[in-house]
Symmetry: C2
Subunit: 575 residues, 2 copies
């Protein structure tokens, strides 16, 4: 995407934040500080929850919300993207760490650090090779199917936690499930139900209540986003006060080391790096694609611009920093970014403030985190990813474009049945193959003139004038090795049907390029038409195509056939 990139280098610097802070006002700061605080309030429980979802110690989520968040704020082109632990990356980490190959190597913390570092390096390499455009090869339906599938996997992994159960291993044995469910923990379930109720109430019901009270919109946003923190706070209070762990077997987060993460580089292990490379590639790809998609949403709302290549640099650096500072892999989170944006964030300063709050909380409050019941975190995760499951979206897509709907469904089922990485690979291959198939079956129309105009349209769809000896054929695709034999066959069939045709005119309005294979085929078509006393002509060929044809003797070969400027000219002369 040369346009976007040249744009990026004009409009932004290596530190886009400098540009944002050029005319920084008191009003901007007010917005940023409020948004920063609100986002931090959301970030604390999410960080711990997503670390646990990934199967990692809670501090790895917290650390991922300090330096990496600040790093992205300094380097990223989005003013409001909240980079830190996200649910999809967390389940991808969990799934990578759970493969027998990797779990056999032990030390999952080290593996997670390597995953983050490798993802970061991959993104930086993609930036160097200017491969930001690669994001275009994951279509929205594939991304939607992948997100739904991953969210369903997350929910399935968290449901047992609500009742204090371990993941089931019953297969299709119903009796086994009955026995399994009896092992539930009543106190855990009570906390989970209370948590879910608070979270649901802090969604729509509270917002509309506050709106009825005519509170300012930022206040409404601020208050309604405190749900997760309040849930954690109340659940922790209950757990501490009633000694739920010791007396009722409620499982808690456990000790979180106090203080700032120490920077370390002692996770270098070549064997592991090799084995983790494919998983890291997937994490890099998804983290990048999702982050840019989210960044674009808020940028569009404010008429700002995202530079894909600079995003690769910013996200890559953030992931390298998270690895060095003991955190998990990071990406831009959708809900946090929307909260940050609607709480009034004006610049990247908001995220710097959020990162500062996180570092303060790690230094002073980490002892408190130890008593958070895991069930409350599971409830927060489930509520957060629930809206990502969009089954009806598949029908919606299918209705508009069958191929896309099919790709979305296959990707979702692929993620559920084959796993995260194979599922998304399947989706990408499917769309690339269908893309190739489409270009190899170009739309071709025999056209005629709309009466009293110079306008030519498909004879199958419009009442048009045609001529007895003249065949006007519009080919709606560039001519390449992939589709030229389809065009050849189409012309042969059409000429078989209409043996009286004397002149064939190929209308090149949609032909942006003719490659070598296609040119050779056109020469053959021309020869065989000439043998049977017919002429081949072209019309409305674009400048670059004509330039290319003039390098060869093709236009000479056509004679008495011609290259007409307009189809109208061809119709007047040959019709």
């Amino acid at each position: 995407m040369p346009t976007a990139q040249s744009n990026g280098s004009q409009g932004t610097h290596f530190f886009p934040i400098v540009h944002s802070l050029k005319n920084y006002t008191r009003r901007d700061f007010d917005g940023d500080i409020f948004a920063g605080i609100i986002t931090a309030i959301l970030l604390v429980p999410q960080s711990i929850a997503y670390a646990i979802l990934a199967g990692l110690p809670p501090q790895m989520g917290l650390y991922a919300s300090i330096l990496p968040t600040a790093c992205y704020a300094l380097l990223g082109t989005s003013r409001t993207l909240s980079v830190g632990p996200v649910s999809i990356a967390a389940i991808m980490i969990a799934s990578a760490l759970a493969t027998p190959e990797i779990s056999a190597l032990g030390d999952s913390v080290q593996s997670a650090l390597i995953l983050a570092a490798e993802s970061g390096i991959i993104m930086l390499m993609m930036a160097m090779l200017r491969m930001g455009g690669l994001v275009n090869f994951i279509s929205h339906p594939v991304l939607a199917g992948f997100t739904s599938g991953a969210a369903l996997l997350i929910i399935a992994s968290q449901l047992p936690q609500l009742a204090g159960l371990k993941p089931p291993s019953c297969g299709f044995n119903i009796a086994c499930y009955q026995h399994y469910l009896q092992g539930y923990n009543a106190a855990t379930l009570a906390i989970a139900i209370a948590a879910l109720n608070i979270l649901i109430f802090f969604g729509k019901p509270l917002s509309s209540l506050l709106k009825k009270l005519k509170l300012p919109l930022t206040m409404v946003t601020g208050i309604s986003k405190c749900g997760p923190l309040l849930t954690v706070f109340l659940a922790t209070l209950a757990a501490t006060y009633f000694g739920l762990q010791a007396q009722h077997g409620v499982s808690l987060v456990g000790e979180v080391p106090s203080g700032f993460p120490s920077l370390r580089l002692d996770f270098i292990d070549i064997t592991k790096w090799k084995i983790l490379l494919p998983s890291a590639t997937f994490i890099a790809l998804i983290a990048y694609v999702e982050s840019v998609a989210i960044a674009k949403v808020t940028a569009n709302l404010r008429g700002e611009k995202i530079a894909p290549n600079q995003e690769l640099i910013a996200l890559g650096a953030a992931n390298l920093v998270t690895a060095i500072s003991g955190g998990m892999a990071v990406a831009g989170g959708f809900s946090r970014t929307m909260v940050n944006f609607s709480a009034g964030a004006r610049t990247q300063m908001a995220m710097l403030i959020a990162a500062a709050i996180l570092s303060v909380s790690v230094i002073f409050f980490s002892a408190w985190f130890a008593n958070i019941p895991k069930a409350a975190l599971a409830a927060i995760i489930i509520m957060a990813v629930f809206r990502l499951v969009r089954i009806r979206h598949i029908f919606h897509t299918f209705n508009y474009d069958r191929g896309d709907g099919f790709a979305e469904l296959v990707t979702l089922l692929g993620v559920l049945v084959l796993g995260i990485e194979k599922g998304i690979t399947l989706g990408i291959i499917l769309t690339l193959a269908s893309q190739l198939r489409k270009t190899s079956h170009p739309h071709i129309a025999v056209v005629g003139r709309i009466p009293k105009t110079e306008h030519y349209r498909n004879i199958k769809r419009h009442a048009v004038e045609t001529w007895h000896h003249l065949l006007l054929v519009r080919i709606d695709e560039s001519l390449t090795f992939a589709n030229i034999s389809y065009v050849e066959d189409y012309l042969a069939d059409e000429l078989n049907r209409q043996p009286n045709i004397k002149h064939v005119v190929l209308i090149f309005t949609s032909v942006s390029d003719i490659d070598t294979t296609a040119l050779e085929a056109l020469e053959k078509i021309n020869q065989s038409l000439q043998v049977s006393g017919k002429t081949l002509n072209i019309s409305e060929a674009k400048g670059p195509v004509l330039d290319k044809l003039r390098k060869t003797d093709f236009l000479e070969q056509l004679k008495p056939g011609k290259a007409f400027f307009r189809t109208e000219d061809a119709a007047k002369e040959l019709g």
Copy 2:
């Protein structure tokens, strides 16, 4: 390619030869018998030479010219294609058999039979899955580069044989080469030089001499194609008469078993089948692509038609038959087919006659074949493949289309450096990737009206009328996930440049499809235009595209923007 296939099932039968022989006349038979004899004269030395090139016993080439040739004549849609041993397939077999993995398994004859059988089965499976269209994914430049590369490898393998040398193993050591070359065999070299002279004389010099003598063209063809047989005959005579093997160390072909091949199925070995599968796939692909390309050349000259799927069946069956009857893998040969065609072959009967002559020669003359000097065969091979090396063709291609020229060069170098299979894979991947890259960078033009017409063209290339508040943009490609963000960036840049624009009209003449990702992006573009008080419009959308858009509320969202039937209407209303 549905068109071609439906055509195939209409125009041909499972035995297309039945169709060819329907109105068979005495004149047809005269042409066929002459062509059959001439082709057989060429086929005998080629069969032995290509078997030796493949590193196989000579009879495997001869057997491959009997039943497989007849089998293709019965099933193929080309009336003149000469199927049998070919040089490119031979070097592919040699290269497969030379890999350490396969040579470690021993019994190269069995391996060659498995390669042929697997290639046949792969072609038949491709026919069942109607994958004849797959041939379109090998572009002509890749095929040309591959052919040049393979031909160079063949020449390199045969040159030492001319002097009775083994292949050198000197690397870059010049002293080693000096010592190596001293091991040449004088008698062998003498035979080779004589053979080359005869072959060169039987090329152009003899033809023009005979033409000057006003001989009929078929006679000229007939006589000038006897060069290889005469070469073999004279060389064998010399070898026998002077006892060249015993007294001067000239290496001969050696014993060729007499009589007809016995049918056998005892080459089934699962391990080998698995290991040989990739090589067999490449042989199947290349044999199919080259055969169809050659068949099309002669079919076009006579206005006949090739049915790709029936060709897969015919070539697949021929390769299964060659394996069962103890022969090497087969394909359509270019030089033989041209000889057959220009000697006057009218139907598949010519090849049935050639096969009959081959079987007679195997029964009666096989003892004579034992004394053929290998150097004479090497000379025949070198002269046959020399015209396949087309280095200048690369410059020709490069001049027309840089990407294609690059692909041709890379494929050629790939074949030489990495080997046959990796070389062609590299070429195919390169063209597919560049195909994807092209569709992701569609041609987009801002257009204006050619004065006094209703015709709109690129403002950069033509003197056109434009309007102050109106931006007419023509997108020359279907809108898909792969290119929509490029379009988005293009529009954003254009609007930045011209802030006074009030109405944007996207001209969809070349847009045959809009996929889900592109539709979502168009909706976003429309929203952001509306926010800044501009309208988005479309014009000249084709029927199928409008049908699809009407399934959504996109056209509603556009309001006050519109879908115009013609760009002219948009210019009148908005201009």
